[in-house]
């Protein structure tokens, strides 16, 4: 189900505290577009992605850029600040009540062999897969994408080669934000959301990225699958309210036994 979305997180590879909250903003944007302008989330997600791209670029250029040379801790605190502002401004504007977007595909189902598939989820899944394949192709096959990955791996090296690292970072951060924005809009039709949904979303994305998202499509797929299966199993066998227990426990275990490939990779 949610595997498609998790794919996006996995391919993006770089996550931070603000991503979950950006995703929530994507959901609210989709909600505003749908309730105010009657735009279905399946079209609205493009706008959500665009808006969050700009937000991402602004955060990177206006804030992160200024402290690129500062110690890691400062960047963590900065992102914590951004996350606080994003989450709580959503709380101020939209209030704490859970919302839900009503998409046109609500309640339509189709029969696939023996299974009955919820059409909304199917469309979300397909769109998400298409998006992540595009993203992957961009990151691994295009020149700009390669530069982004080089800069992520070794900012200093890319600087020496003469790439405009700051611009590349800004684009990369913008694309990350756009992706979570789109993801938010796409799940909005079947996932009730509130401003506090940001942290759990971030945690899920950390899990996916740390476990399997080594930048490869299969890695992201594997990570996403594992995490969502674990979380769904947790929800089935434990009280549904304990689903988060599974995510957080998983996070701890994953942190302690990080897959070797990711050891030492910068995550912020």
């Amino acid at each position: 189900m949610a595997v498609g979305l998790t794919l996006i997180f996995g391919v993006m590879r770089v996550v931070n505290f603000a991503h979950g909250d950006m995703m929530v903003w994507g959901m609210y944007l989709a909600w505003v577009l749908s309730t105010r302008f009657g735009l279905d989330p399946y079209f609205g997600f493009v706008i959500c992605a665009g808006v969050l791209f700009l937000v991402g670029v602004a955060v990177q250029r206006g804030l992160v850029d200024r402290i690129l040379d500062a110690p890691h801790e400062m960047q963590i605190l900065l992102m914590l600040g951004v996350a606080l502002v994003l989450e709580n401004s959503a709380l101020m504007v939209f209030g704490p009540e859970p919302r839900r977007v009503r998409g046109v595909l609500r309640l339509s189902t189709i029969d696939v062999g023996p299974f009955i598939v919820d059409l909304a989820r199917l469309v979300t899944f397909v769109v998400a897969v298409v998006l992540s394949v595009l993203l992957w192709a961009f990151l691994f096959k295009s020149d700009l994408g390669r530069t982004i990955r080089a800069a992520a791996d070794n900012g200093y090296g890319a600087l020496v080669i003469g790439t405009n690292v700051r611009r590349v970072y800004a684009v990369a951060f913008g694309i990350g934000a756009a992706c979570v924005g789109a993801a938010g809009a796409l799940v909005a039709p079947f996932l009730p959301f509130s401003p506090s949904a940001g942290l759990p979303a971030s945690v899920t994305s950390f899990n996916i990225v740390i476990i399997g998202g080594m930048g490869s499509l299969p890695g992201a797929f594997f990570g996403g699958l594992l995490v969502s299966v674990a979380e769904s199993l947790g929800a089935v066998f434990l009280r549904p309210s304990l689903k988060e227990v599974v995510s957080f426990s998983l996070l701890i275990v994953i942190l302690l036994f990080r897959p070797a490939g990711l050891f030492g990779k910068r995550l912020s």
């Binding site: 804030l63 040379d69 500062a70 110690p71 605190l77 600040g81 036994f257 995550l267």
Partner: protein
């Protein structure tokens, strides 16, 4: 060089005046000051591991929560006076701190990974507390009012003022003591460069673990105050991220890793929090004061990375070494490059 001394003397003078104030104040001022002291205390406790040792814990609410629930439940259900329950709560929190520290430091989690670990544990505590019905579950745990000092309850709110002041002074005394001992010197050195410390004979694992235990013990003791000042415990508030943010933000704004930073930070932030909370509550905008916190955090990181206290000292013409979260390093990029790994890099 004498200026820090002057400031210190000024701070001491202020502290001498503080006990006399409640008789002059209205009750609102007493409340605000009580919060200044209490959050100053929590910030000071966090300062040991987060400021001096530079291990950013973003889950210190877990220790407040464990300490608060322990003291409250022991008092209500077992009749144990919170004055002793406070120590029990502290010990339980210290045990939790030891577990988190052991895992985090043994498995070499640094920076962002350590932040995540602490958040994950705090959230797990919240979820557990929400799901254990014996301690009230998600609805929370309520304390019956007796007004009996033996139950850590007081008719006169000024009592809380003095207790909070005592807490803050106690933690500051502990930190002052740590600062001038080998332990404290090792902590600041670890914040600067852990591998270099190891090479100089510092058992960084043990030192960090000890810092975590002391910090979580003090924070856990604070839980008793939290419980009996508010008379109710909600898992989502006492274990929640917002409380962890409250704890972290004061020392960072005031100057993490400095003796007076958390107190300066609390004198700035606690009134600000009260004001903005009141202001936003009027407009029905919950979350407003956290937006203010977020903005403040961003501003401090960008413009005042060492925090207010070192800045004040420098403003007065004094010199300040070693405090604050590390500001942008002015060593050459080549030197900085080796910092990330615990191992020596290729030449």
């Amino acid at each position: 060089m004498t200026l820090p001394r002057v400031l210190l003397a000024a701070a001491l003078a202020v502290l001498l005046v503080l006990p006399a104030l409640p008789s002059l104040f209205g009750s609102y001022a007493v409340t605000v000051f009580t919060l200044i002291f209490f959050y100053g205390f929590l910030g000071q406790a966090w300062n040991i591991i987060g400021g001096y040792a530079g291990q950013l814990s973003a889950g210190h609410a877990a220790f407040v929560g464990v300490g608060a629930y322990a003291a409250a439940v022991l008092s209500q259900d077992a009749g144990l006076t919170p004055w002793i329950g406070m120590l029990v709560g502290g010990l339980l929190s210290a045990a939790l701190g030891a577990v988190i520290g052991y895992l985090g430091f043994r498995f070499g989690l640094r920076g962002f990974y350590f932040v995540l670990l602490t958040v994950a544990f705090a959230e797990l505590c919240r979820l557990v507390a929400s799901n254990v019905d014996a301690i009230g579950g998600a609805l929370g745990y309520y304390i019956t009012f007796t007004g009996n000092p033996r139950h850590f309850q007081f008719q006169d709110s000024r009592a809380y003022y003095y207790i909070a002041l005592g807490f803050m002074l106690l933690a500051t005394g502990v930190v002052a003591l740590i600062e001038r001992r080998r332990f404290g010197m090792y902590l600041t050195a670890i914040r600067e460069d852990e591998s270099a410390c190891e090479a100089l004979g510092v058992d960084t694992f043990r030192v960090k673990l000890l810092a975590m235990v002391v910090s979580s013990f003090l924070t856990g003791m604070g839980g008793t105050f939290y419980a009996f000042y508010l008379f109710s415990l909600q898992p989502s508030t006492v274990f929640g991220i917002p409380l962890s943010v409250e704890i972290v933000i004061r020392p960072i704004v005031g100057g993490a890793g400095t003796l007076l930073g958390p107190i300066v930070g609390s004198f700035i932030l606690s009134p600000l929090a009260e004001l903005s909370r009141a202001y936003f509550a009027k407009g029905g905008w919950i979350g407003g004061h956290l937006v203010v916190y977020g903005l403040l955090l961003i501003l401090v990181v960008l413009f005042l990375p060492q925090g207010a206290y070192p800045w004040l000292v420098k403003l007065g013409g004094g010199r300040f070494l070693g405090g604050g979260l590390r500001p942008p390093s002015d060593t050459s990029p080549q030197d900085g490059a080796g910092k990330a790994g615990a191992r020596s890099g290729p030449s």
